[in-house]
């Protein structure tokens, strides 16, 4: 499945709802799936966006697909209902775990790149896909640390999961940048090894360095090297859509418009502002 070329989008958050509503060229947004009541109605601002033809993609953050335990059926059902409620063409979630032995981590945590971990992920993704009315895209996360247990390279690990589940890839280019910078590896090398034809859409976000470690904060502007990486990606295989994620410390509207324009320019898509 390929999305139509939606171009540049933005993560819809209540705090920037007014800003998002006034983007004339906007064709797709993402909404945190857990923030939507499955029984509806959706937030009025999202309904208004949909009425003017903007696609809304539910983005889950609490499924814990990478957990050793089976994914919780109620959470899968919720994601499926939200997809129906918003008439979404696809949904997305993370290659990560967020709880273990009943304790919530409060954040997306990396899974070890092992055969056992691939098996657990594939089972959870298959369970989820069986309930979903639409395709699922999987997003690799930014991780501040790696597991000592790792057996597989990142591209090998991701490709095996995608091959065994038929899932799409939600490639977060800022995560690619963050991980490569913190590990001292080449982000372009990873792009060359990933199945880019499986990319459903791309996340772009800002970050900042603290104590020598780059954090994918979503509360800072997108740095130039991330935009350059968007260019590298698009030179290889341009994704149908790229979405800016901003989750706090919202800048003035003009700064956010400039950031969206910079992403459009880097990808060769029309400005949406």
């Amino acid at each position: 499945m390929n999305l139509p070329a939606y171009g540049v989008g933005i993560g819809w958050r209540p705090e920037i709802s007014g800003f998002v509503a006034e983007l004339p060229g906007l064709r797709f947004v993402e909404v945190v799936a857990e923030s939507i009541a499955a029984g509806g109605p959706p937030p009025a601002a999202l309904t208004t966006l949909r009425e003017r033809g903007t696609v809304v993609v539910p983005h889950g953050v609490r499924l814990s697909l990478g957990g050793a335990e089976p994914v919780e059926p109620d959470r899968v059902t919720h994601l499926a209902r939200v997809a129906e409620l918003l008439d979404a063409p696809l949904v997305s979630e993370h290659i990560a775990f967020v709880r273990a032995a009943g304790v919530e981590a409060g954040h997306l945590l990396p899974v070890p790149r092992t055969r056992d971990s691939v098996d657990a992920l594939v089972e959870n993704v298959n369970r989820t896909q069986a309930e979903l009315p639409v395709p699922l895209a999987l997003e690799p996360i930014a991780a501040l640390f790696d597991w000592p247990d790792d057996e597989l390279g990142e591209a090998e690990f991701l490709t095996e999961i995608l091959d065994r589940t038929g899932a799409l890839l939600l490639l977060d280019i800022a995560n690619v940048y963050a991980n490569a910078r913190n590990r001292g590896t080449d982000p372009v090398d990873l792009l060359d090894r990933l199945p880019l034809d499986r990319v459903a859409y791309v996340h772009v976000a800002g970050g900042a360095e603290h104590d020598g470690i780059y954090h994918d904060t979503h509360t800072d502007p997108t740095p130039a090297p991330v935009l350059e990486l968007v260019g590298e990606l698009c030179a290889r295989h341009r994704p149908p859509a790229l979405l800016l994620e901003r989750d706090g410390r919202y800048p003035p509207a003009q700064a956010l418009r400039d950031e969206l324009d910079a992403i459009a320019a880097a990808a060769g898509y029309p400005a949406i502002t």
Partner: protein, 155 residues
């Protein structure tokens, strides 16, 4: 699951639980992990939690000012989250019990106590009927859907 996968799955479950415990419960960093990087992740997680709790409890965060982040960190470092609403509630009650809750935060807590019933173990439920809320030197009366704040004079 295929039964020959069971030992590997159990090992993965145990390793994940160890890692989560290190990040949110103050347990030691599991064998083999980079302690500096896991420590950085733990700090980032606490900052994120502090921001989320501060959004749910703005007077608590503002009232503590520069002390907010260190206060929240020492409260939360060994305590996994129960959600930002409950985390802030537990912290506010703990500070109130120790006489360390600043005035506006005491009012914020008292209003919530009068509006919701929270047993400390499960999610708060809306109160029905008239209710009193008390925190620090603030008393809140809720009656006929209105909340009235009384300050001081309560000893």
């Amino acid at each position: 699951m295929n039964e020959d996968r069971r030992p590997g799955r159990d090992r993965l479950a145990a390793r994940q639980a160890e890692l989560v415990a290190a990040l949110v419960s103050g347990a030691p960093v599991p064998t083999g992990f980079d302690t500096r990087l896991v420590g950085a992740a733990r700090d980032a997680l606490l900052r994120k939690r502090a921001g989320d709790v501060g959004r749910h409890w703005p007077m608590l965060a503002a009232g503590l000012g520069a002390e907010w982040l260190p206060t929240f960190r020492s409260f939360a470092a060994t305590r996994p989250t129960n959600g930002s609403l409950r985390d802030g509630w537990d912290l506010a009650r703990e500070l109130a019990a120790g006489g360390r809750l600043p005035g506006p935060a005491a009012e914020e807590l008292a209003v919530r106590e009068a509006t919701w019933r929270y047993d400390g173990d499960s999610n708060p439920l809306p109160r029905r009927g008239p209710a009193l809320g008390r925190a620090g030197g603030t008393l809140v009366i809720r009656f006929a859907g209105r909340v009235r704040v009384l300050r001081g004079g309560l000893g």
